[in-house]
């Protein structure tokens, strides 16, 4: 695997040099620069909808470029990148996993914060347990599902419990926010703590109940170019697009906050 990746990287590097060498003679113009190139973006699962939209706009603005998106939990992605996965850009759902990639020496420059996210209560549309506040989640008989403390949404939940002095007695601590949402959508749970963006993306399948305490646990999303990436310039362009006005418009539309 590894040698394969290295060979591919070497080929790509040779291609770049070929273009640079040719530039002196024939003029390698900007659109030609990007022709046939693939930008690989590793992004947190919660970014799926906005990044998919953004990637389409980016491909339109950079003819010939293909953006390959890989969505997974931030910690999975951080591990993959540390193990040499061929990513050009990494967008994490928390600063902790970005730091993990940083420790591996794979962050190019310094990461830029581009969005924030807070938790919300998601309940089935008919709200069977009549949840109205964060404290309602701790009421006996309410089947609440949360994220486990080991994952970012669970860490945020823990912070809220501490901040508000509430002790939740969940029926399940899931390892991803999508699993929490799934339990609410299927009606198994009376309520779940998910990100506002997850509740928004689920549409009418869940009802979101915002609560003021959520502001005490804000998740910040950083983005960076990966040091060993093949397409440094494209990666920089993509990060510009994410942090620029077009990107920010898409993120706000999906329910994200501005850092």
């Amino acid at each position: 695997m590894r040698p394969g990746i290295r060979a591919a990287a070497a080929l790509a590097a040779a291609g770049l040099m070929g273009c640079a060498a040719a530039a002196g003679l024939t003029g390698c113009t900007a659109p030609a620069r990007d022709a046939g190139k693939t930008l690989t973006v590793f992004a947190a699962a919660s970014l799926q909808a906005p990044f998919t939209a953004l990637a389409e706009e980016f491909e339109a603005a950079h003819p010939g470029t293909t953006v390959t998106l890989s969505f997974a939990g931030s910690s999975d992605l951080a591990t993959q990148i540390s193990q040499g996965a061929p990513a050009d850009v990494f967008a994490s759902a928390d600063t902790k996993n970005m730091a993990k990639v940083g420790e591996a020496g794979l962050v190019e420059g310094s990461p830029r914060d581009f969005a924030t996210n807070v938790l919300t209560i998601a309940v089935p549309p008919e709200n069977p347990a009549s949840i109205a506040t964060f404290a309602d989640l701790a009421k006996p008989g309410v089947r609440t599902v949360i994220c486990a403390e080991q994952v970012p949404c669970g860490a945020a939940t823990k912070t809220l419990e501490k901040e508000t002095g509430t002790t939740l007695m969940p029926v399940s601590e899931e390892s991803s926010v999508t699993d929490v949402l799934g339990k609410v959508v299927s009606g198994e749970a009376d309520a779940g703590l998910v990100y506002v963006t997850d509740a928004k993306a689920a549409g009418s399948k869940v009802q979101a109940i915002p609560f003021p305490e959520s502001a005490r646990a804000v998740n910040t999303y950083p983005i960076t170019a990966v040091r060993n990436g093949k397409n440094k310039e494209l990666a920089a362009d993509f990060i510009e697009a994410v942090t620029g006005p077009d990107g920010q418009r898409i993120f706000r539309g999906a329910g994200f906050g501005t850092p």
Partner: protein, 282 residues
């Protein structure tokens, strides 16, 4: 005669042995690589932490319960499939074996729509005050769902290779079907039943996807060892590796001690007389 030839003939072509070695390495190498990543000084504290022991205990208990359910339902199923003669038998077999090839997460979703709160049976159960979702029962159901085919396949194979001659003789001597089953059929296929049960236990122990989808994840209630490993991996790679090794060791011990695989033709006392019972399609 045949047996002697079988055991003394060793003319395996070298190239076959070479490919077999590669195949064995393919399985062993990742396990060895994992072994190399174990944080040995911390190994004992990691696997004896409270959360690890809770998860291991839950895994062993639920896998044992699932194995009992697999035997309870799997033996009749295997008998019907091996000895029965009815229309739709092939279809029934396909459906019973389906969980073998289904991704466990699909099994979890299917279970959810059957036994979940809003599910086909779940609504009635809920009214009766029985709650399955998020309970240990859900874990056992998920494990039984994925492990049942292992028992059925093993036992059906054993039943077929044992043949029905002895049963026919017993019946002509006046034994009722239940007596034949109890005194002739089951003793005959006991090795097949045992290896099927062991395989089911091992499969239950490793169940992950259906449990995650259907049962949830709460320490001591639904968080089995595979779920604990999956969660620990998020923050503590050392703990995840240590627990993985623990699961491998438990699986190797269980399977190694009890699962002997297909018996060589004509070996063993009773087997020698009836041909090759206990032959399990691998």
């Amino acid at each position: 005669m045949k047996r002697r030839r079988d055991t003394t003939y060793t003319g395996i072509p070298r190239w076959v042995a070479a490919i077999a070695a590669v195949g064995a390495l393919f399985v062993l190498l990742p396990l060895a690589a994992m072994l190399g990543r174990v944080n040995w000084p911390q190994f004992i504290p990691l696997i004896t932490s409270e959360s690890s022991l809770t998860a291991l205990g839950l895994s062993l208990r639920t896998a044992a319960a699932s194995t009992v359910l697999c035997v309870l339902f799997g033996v009749p199923l295997a008998l019907v499939l091996a000895r029965g003669d009815f229309p739709g038998k092939r279809l029934l077999r396909s459906f019973v074996l389906l969980p073998l090839v289904l991704p466990p997460v699909v099994g979890g979703i299917a279970l959810l729509y059957a036994f979940g709160r809003q599910g086909l049976l779940g609504q009635g159960l809920e009214v009766a005050g029985l709650r399955i979702a998020f309970t240990t029962t859900a874990v056992i159901l998920a494990q039984t769902f994925v492990a049942l085919p292992f028992l059925v396949v093993s036992l059906e194979g054993a039943l077929r290779s044992a043949g029905s001659r002895y049963e026919a003789v017993a019946a002509t001597l006046g034994a009722r079907p239940t007596t034949v089953l109890r005194r002739v059929t089951l003793p005959l296929v006991l090795p097949g039943l045992a290896s099927g049960a062991v395989l089911s236990f091992a499969r239950s122990l490793g169940e992950f996807g259906a449990t995650l989808t259907f049962a949830g994840s709460l320490p001591g209630v639904t968080r089995t060892l595979p779920l604990e490993i999956y969660l620990q991996r998020e923050t503590d790679a050392d703990a995840a590796v240590a627990l993985s090794l623990l699961l491998v060791v438990v699986a190797v011990v269980v399977v190694g001690l009890s699962y002997r695989g297909p018996a060589p033709a004509g070996s063993g006392g009773r087997s020698a007389r009836v041909g090759t019972p206990g032959r399990v399609p691998a």
